[in-house]
């Protein structure tokens, strides 16, 4: 949408001409986003094109940009390392400036003693992990992998990952924020605002955790986070990771104080029992169900081919027909990966004994081929760094995660078979989805810090270059919603994804039926305060006054 050149020039004056663009091709590179084709008219791969894209270098520049946007009524959408359709502007008829934060890429400080790092938005998990490991520390890398921004995962989204089990969720590890509100104010949270440093997001000073993030985070819908402090965790491995071998399956040697296993179980009941025992005994550094993203039927064929630098998908096809591979698929059908790391060799030996005892009790077993040195070293590399997370897209470039509800192990063991049956049914009804077996459930062993509560998402692979395949995926998303409703299960990730394509009224109508609508009214009041001109988008959810069940906030 055309907008005043005065606004463009005002922003240009802030950042310099080389750091702002409204070239249509440049703007398309921001509009083109993963999952857009699932929600946009005609399955377009483009979200709405931003009005301009700008690259600020400092908090002051971000603040000045926000103020210009307030003056001219331009929507604000920050993006850091991220992707997802919600990283783009939401509506075609709303001029939106995309604030690309890639120039804000510094690690501000690492406080080794207090185990806190302060970073700007374009610092990736891989970069910070590499630096803190030199100090015997580590960070929780979110499930989306180490390419992601720490600020984004901690301030604006879930923040869970394979190591959350030991290191906590980034939503909880968030120890302070520097936040430029949509209105253009700079707000510092907790101890930071009292000049006491970055050690506590809750005080002394304003505690804004519940305002800026909640469970989901604002996903770029409530201004721009320009710095955050993140809690670090102990690391008992090498100061520098030294992967071995050729691409793609780099291998990380396993030191004496570490064990890497793929554990199989005979049933979902046994899975829950094994999980609970591991959790109760407080063993493990990383807990994840990783390789099943390829689907339980095909996982061994894919990953054992992946170990070869010259392996191709044709080799996967051949391998999948090998009876030995099918046997291995059955052996690992319900399985997970666990990494044990001890402060000493003796400690990991103890953890090993405990794990053996748990397995003997629950009927769990080590999946032999996946525990051999080559695959174990590959697993070690994969899960310590999470540098291969885009294998999520390995089949054909399109993946959508359905389900992903979290709960206690008994909840997971009950919903997993429903998710598996539904996915399998949809695969059989249409060849629009990759036929990998109904169980492509993947996820980390912790959706909240410390574990005990977790969930899996179905890895639904489709071809973004094939409209029929895209539409098969959309159908599966609606089917998954129906499956949830039919089985009394809360709606999952597919619902959150689909919502991006819906009109406000449809979303509000759904929200108004939520069990706790007061949360959404509370968020409306937050928005009214910090975003009076509504320049953030609806990724920060709220309900208009008067909608939903009456309660004290609705009335106020």
């Amino acid at each position: 949408m055309e907008i005043s050149r005065d606004a463009y020039r005002a922003i240009e004056d802030i950042v310099g001409a080389e750091n702002i663009s409204d070239d249509p091709a440049f703007l398309d590179s921001y509009a083109f986003q993963w999952l857009a084709e699932l929600v946009r008219p005609e399955n377009s791969h483009y979200m709405p094109r931003p009005w301009a894209v700008v690259l600020p270098a400092t908090t002051e520049e971000v603040q000045a940009i926000h103020r210009v946007c307030n003056k001219y009524g331009i929507k604000i959408k920050p993006i850091s390392t991220g992707w997802y359709h919600w990283a783009a502007p939401m509506k075609d008829n709303e001029p939106t400036i995309q604030i690309d934060l890639r120039r804000m890429d510094k690690i501000i400080s690492i406080d080794e003693k207090n185990m806190v790092a302060v970073v700007e938005p374009y610092v990736t998990c891989a970069q910070l992990q590499a630096e803190v490991m030199k100090l015997g520390l580590n960070i929780n890398i979110i499930g989306a992998g180490c390419s992601t921004s720490i600020v984004a995962s901690a301030s604006t989204y879930f923040g869970a990952g394979p190591s959350s089990y030991y290191m906590g969720n980034n939503s909880d590890n968030l120890l302070g924020q520097e936040w430029v509100t949509p209105a253009g104010d700079v707000v510092l949270t907790g101890s930071l605002s009292s000049d006491c440093g970055w050690f506590c997001g809750e005080g002394p000073g304003p505690s804004l955790r519940g305002v800026t993030r909640g469970n989901m985070g604002s996903r770029g819908g409530l201004g721009t986070y320009t710095k955050c402090a993140i809690k670090l965790a102990p690391w008992h491995g090498a100061a520098v990771l030294e992967p071995q071998g050729p691409p793609p399956a780099y291998r990380l040697p396993i030191p004496e104080n570490t064990r890497v296993y793929t554990i199989g179980v005979p049933s979902w009941d046994a899975f829950a029992e094994t999980y609970l025992n591991i959790y109760d005994n407080e063993i493990g550094y990383i807990f994840h169900r990783q390789f099943n993203l390829a689907g339980a039927d095909l996982a061994p064929a894919l990953w054992l081919t992946y170990l070869r630098p010259d392996g191709t998908m044709n080799d996967v096809e051949t391998a999948s027909k090998d009876p030995e591979m099918q046997k291995l698929a059955d052996e690992g059908r319900i399985s997970f990966q666990i990494i044990l790391q001890g402060r000493s060799v003796d400690e990991v030996k103890l953890q090993d004994k405990i794990l053996d005892a748990i397995m003997a009790k629950t009927g769990a077993y080590k999946v032999g081929r996946f525990c051999e040195q080559d695959f174990a070293e590959f697993t070690h590399m994969y899960l310590q760094r999470l540098g291969h997370k885009h294998c999520n897209f390995i089949w054909v470039g399109g993946y959508m995660g359905s389900w992903m509800q979290a709960g206690i192990p008994d909840f997971v063991k009950n919903y997993s078979p429903v998710a598996i049956d539904g996915f399998y049914r949809d695969q059989k009804q249409s060849d629009g989805l990759v036929q990998c077996g109904g169980d492509a459930l993947m996820g980390c062993g912790s959706s909240i810090s410390g574990g005990g509560y977790f969930g899996f998402e179905q890895f639904v692979s489709y071809d973004p270059n094939d409209k029929a395949s895209v539409q098969a995926c959309v159908k599966h998303m609606y089917d998954a919603i129906d499956d949830c409703k039919a089985n009394g299960i809360p709606l999952g990730k597919e619902y959150i994804y689909l919502m991006i394509g819906w009109p406000d009224e449809q979303i509000w109508n759904d929200f108004s039926k939520a069990p706790q609508t007061f949360v959404l009214h509370f968020q409306r009041k937050i928005k009214e305060h910090f975003d009076p001109r509504e320049l953030g988008d609806r990724n920060y959810p709220w309900l208009p006054k008067g909608m939903g069940q009456p309660n004290f906030i609705t009335q106020s």
Binding site: E18, D23, P24, A25, F26, D28, S29, F32, W34, H45, V53, L55, T81, W83, D100, R102, R103, V123, A126, Q127, L128, Q129, A130, E131, C146, S147, V240, L241, P243, P247, P248, Y250, L298, T312, M313, N314, V316, E317, S320, R385, G387, H388, H390, N392, F393, I394, W395, V396, G397, G398, D431, G432, L433, V434, Q435, S461, D463, P464, N465, S469
Partner: protein, 424 residues
């Protein structure tokens, strides 16, 4: 191929941004995690491989047109191929480097050629080199060396010095050192002298494919006439052109060897002995065209097919270029064999190496970008405590030498063959 052939790559790009970073498993620090010189300079997403795929899609669909900004984003790229390696860590259905090459060629065909390219192309077309030097001076480096002239004689091996070693006064000694080693090994070889022609590889990576075809035709005809079966070159740019581009576009089957492969084999066979100490601490820079793009060419003419419903495979299987089989060990074996030499590695090595900045025609068309990229590599080399940065490509060396003059680096810039000569 045509740009439309890469539509599927564009549609299947997930905008994951792996193309901007070295393979994440190899990240050892904040500073040296970055992998793409182009986006470091251009900053907008369009300066990455993923961004260029969207640009291609946007142009094909008529959503945008070629503007000066688009031209800049397409051509200000060293075509180093790091993005290709990082993308293929997780993907079997993407060819980002090939797609970017096609986008360049398409723009060139449509007349979008940066103005600064014109004199370089003129030199290539008339003087058979891109350095704007007289063709007649090409063989000067070999005068009085008594080498067989294959424009008049026959030999199965041709030594191809390449433009940079032939004309660059600071680097000409490498060509001489190379032939000295070949002579010492008793190899029967010759040179084309002033009839040697540019390989055309740089023209190809700049999008001027017809110019490479002309050079390739010239070279292949001359070699055939001379009975050549093997080409030996100390230049990684030429190596890549002969080994990969001539094979893929001209159907050439001539064996191509880089000097480091020859020296490595001679050392292994005991036909070459390095006896003199070279008391230096050095680090090695992997040239993109010898390393990740130096993999053997495998002919393929196939089509996409779907397996497991929607997964992408190819009929027949498509060869996979992911940097796994580049020439990495030969130069390292050589350095380790030099007495007195202390060899240390940088953080970004082999398939993860940071580009010198010279590739893709950037040395000629975007000299400031080329030098800033080189300076970042010199900074990384200095961080190892090395006295010198060693490479196996004159384009890398020239760019490092130029950056040294302007930047803060005090590193010596050395060619690996010159080092070998010192140790003989």
């Amino acid at each position: 191929m045509a740009l439309e052939d890469f539509r599927a790559d564009a549609m299947r790009c997930t905008r994951c941004a792996y193309c901007k970073w070295i393979p994440f498993d190899h990240v050892k620090s904040w500073k040296y995690a970055k992998g793409c010189p182009s986006i470091e300079a251009g900053k907008f997403h369009s300066y990455s491989a993923g961004g260029r795929l969207v640009t291609a899609l946007s142009l094909m669909d008529g959503r945008s047109t070629v503007t000066p900004a688009v031209e800049d984003s397409v051509f200000k790229c060293t075509m180093c191929g790091l993005c290709d390696v990082s993308c293929k860590l997780c993907r079997y259905d993407m060819e980002p480097l090939a797609a970017m090459s096609e986008l360049r060629a398409t723009l060139v065909e449509d007349g979008h050629v940066p103005a600064q390219v014109e004199p370089i192309l003129k030199s290539l077309r008339t003087e058979f080199n891109m350095l704007q030097k007289p063709r007649a001076e090409r063989g000067n480096w070999a005068k009085e060396l008594g080498l067989k002239d294959l424009s008049k004689e026959q030999a199965e091996v041709v030594f191809h010095a390449g433009c940079r070693y032939s004309f660059d006064g600071d680097l000409g000694h490498v060509a001489k050192a190379s032939v000295k080693i070949l002579k010492q090994a008793g190899l029967d070889f010759g040179i084309m002298g002033e009839n040697e022609s540019c390989c055309g590889g740089r023209a190809h990576t700049m999008g001027h494919r017809k110019d490479m075809h002309t050079r390739a035709t010239h070279n292949l005809t001359a070699w055939k006439k001379a009975g050549v079966k093997t080409i030996v070159t100390p230049c990684s740019d030429c190596y890549h052109a002969f080994k990969r581009l001539y094979a893929s576009t001209e159907g050439s089957e001539i064996q191509v060897l880089h000097m480091v492969e020859i020296v490595d084999q001679l050392l292994k066979d005991g036909k070459l002995k390095l006896t003199k100490a070279v008391n230096k601490k050095v680090t090695y820079h992997d040239p993109c065209h010898l390393g990740r793009q130096g993999e053997p060419f495998v002919a393929w003419n196939g089509v996409e097919k779907k397996i497991f419903g929607q997964a992408v495979a190819y009929e027949p299987a498509r060869p996979r270029y992911n940097g796994a089989f580049g020439i990495y060990e030969a130069p390292r074996n050589i350095l380790k064999a030099i007495p007195g030499l202390q060899f240390v590695e940088m953080e970004r090595i082999k398939e993860s190496a940071w580009c010198c900045g010279s590739g893709g025609g950037c040395k000629e068309t975007y000299p400031d970008f080329a030098l800033s990229t080189a300076n970042q590599r010199l900074d990384e080399a200095q961080s190892t405590g090395a006295d010198a940065i060693v490479s196996a490509c004159p384009w890398c060396e020239r760019n490092f030498l130029d950056a040294n003059q302007e930047g803060a680096s005090k590193l010596e810039v050395l060619d690996i063959i010159a080092l070998v000569e010192q140790a003989l």
